[in-house]
């Protein structure tokens, strides 16, 4: 017998909202990067515009959680799940903001001879989005292995970050012509690295839900 059917339904609804927010963020990030790669200013503007939808969802999730806490006074696993949802939705919102930042860099670069091919930025993006999928799944499916995998993928992102940084600063010192684009690429390099850190925090919240212990996957 399920004693708290109504509460179970509420938890499911919360999970659905998080999945929706995650799907929108993945889409925003893919669009932002495509715009960045193809120098598509129109698409970049759309990413910036649509970010509002993600912000609204985050607010909805927050309000829903406050109400669930008042009404259900959750403890144990329920409490960890709800606290996790609260923290994770904030992290997903931050990741979406980095998609907006990449879109803004795209606009600042405008039309130019793209320097992206010579960098590992796309690889970083691919790994980061894989991390986001895995981190949110690890929370929803309570899969600790996925959470730990996110931690090791973050190390790869960090390696690419250092590599890109060296390469771009070297390029800057040798060629003065493309300073604007190279600096924007350095920014994007940073955005991707930061996004991956926030995604790692999501995996930590998932680990806390599953194990009831504080994990530090960011070292």
């Amino acid at each position: 017998m399920v004693v708290r059917e109504n509460f179970e339904n509420n938890l499911q609804e919360l999970q659905n909202k998080m999945s929706e927010m995650n799907a929108l963020t993945l889409e925003a990030f893919e669009n932002a990067f495509t715009a960045f790669k193809t120098q598509d200013v129109e698409l970049a503007l759309r990413v910036i515009e649509e970010d509002n939808e993600i912000d609204v969802l985050e607010t909805e999730i927050n309000q829903f959680i406050v109400w669930l806490m008042v009404k259900e006074q959750p403890v144990a696993r329920d409490l960890r799940r709800i606290i996790g949802a609260l923290k994770i939705s904030a992290e997903i919102e931050r990741v979406a903001d980095f998609a907006v930042n990449i879109a803004k860099s795209t606009i600042k670069i405008g039309k130019a001879n793209s320097l992206i091919k010579g960098t590992k930025l796309e690889e970083m993006k691919i790994i980061s989005m894989d991390m986001l999928q895995k981190a949110v799944s690890s929370f929803i499916d309570e899969n600790i292995l996925l959470a730990k995998e996110v931690g090791s993928l973050d190390d790869q992102v960090d390696d690419f970050y250092s590599e890109n940084y060296k390469q771009l600063t070297m390029y800057l010192s040798s060629s003065a012509a493309d300073t604007n684009q190279a600096v924007q690429l350095l920014f994007v390099n940073r955005y991707l690295e930061r996004a991956a850190d926030h995604i790692t925090n999501i995996a930590e919240s998932a680990a806390y839900l599953i194990k009831g212990e504080i994990y530090d996957l960011n070292t």
């Binding site: 004693v3 708290r4 696993r77 409490l79 212990e213 504080i214 530090d216």
Partner: protein, 265 residues
């Protein structure tokens, strides 16, 4: 990968002494066994909460601690309950035991007499006659029970004229007047309104620096708010006994998890 476990209770673990030590306690009501091999150490000067569904044995266990079950026909007990190195079932001095181990019940059960006489009742029975001593004892007890300011101008009026919440605090004062070391509370706020409940909880929090308190409660938020350690009872057994924070944030046993999250049944 680094894992860090937070343990805020570390460090002060050594200073906590056990007041009550229960070992392999079994209790039968006639043929029916109500408690199964209960072993538990209860800390001195702290609050220990007993939680569990109705009929799980938590009140029965509470009553073994001052031998209240002796009054029920057909009760058989085996095992040891040691309070301050003394096995309470090996001694015949039940009066002394109940002086040391006071009790507060679910419903306020004041005598139909004045507030003053209610609190002075126990000490008078013990032979204290001096008016000066009694006055001081009544005042101190009512102050300790956080009810003095509300009743100091009406000590001679009937205790039954007080509100339920006030009566319960006078009951606590009456228990305190006996200078007990342990106070047992059997659902002390279940008949009270929310504000009176919070006042009694506040009082429990203040009392724990002087007394060892064992409280049975059906209100899990109350257990979380007032207690240091919590024992979860089910079908006459202790399923899990741990720091209250652990029980309500990461219980080890699935049955505890199901009970505290309300998914029991």
């Amino acid at each position: 990968m680094n894992t860090t476990k937070m343990d805020r209770n570390k460090g002060n673990e050594q200073q906590i002494q056990n007041k009550i030590s229960v070992n392999d306690l079994n209790l039968f009501y006639g043929e029916k066994q109500a408690l199964f091999s209960i072993s538990i150490d209860i800390r001195e000067k702290g609050v220990t909460a007993l939680i569990g569904p109705s009929g799980c044995g938590k009140s029965t266990f509470l009553r073994t601690l001052n031998r209240m079950n002796d009054l029920i026909d057909g009760v058989k007990i085996s095992g040891d309950i040691v309070i301050d190195n003394e096995n309470i079932y090996r001694s015949n001095d039940v009066i002394k035991l109940r002086t040391k181990v006071g009790m507060v019940f679910q419903k306020p059960n004041l005598f139909p007499m004045s507030i003053y006489d209610n609190v002075a009742y126990g000490p008078r029975m013990q032979g204290i006659k001096s008016k000066k001593v009694l006055n001081q004892l009544v005042e101190d007890s009512l102050k300790s029970a956080a009810i003095w300011d509300e009743v100091k101008d009406r000590l001679k009026s009937s205790a039954l004229g007080l509100s339920g919440g006030q009566q319960q605090r006078v009951c606590i004062a009456r228990a305190i007047a006996m200078k007990p070391e342990v106070i047992l509370m059997d659902e002390p706020t279940s008949a009270l309104d929310p504000i009176s409940t919070l006042k009694v909880e506040e009082l429990i929090a203040n009392m724990k620096k002087d007394y060892t308190i064992v409280i049975v409660t059906h209100n899990m938020q109350q257990a979380a708010r007032v207690s240091d350690k919590t024992a979860f009872f089910l079908n006459g057994e202790i399923i899990e006994y741990a720091n209250t924070e652990t029980i309500f944030s990461m219980p080890k046993d699935q049955r505890t998890e199901d009970y505290v999250t309300g998914r029991f049944g």
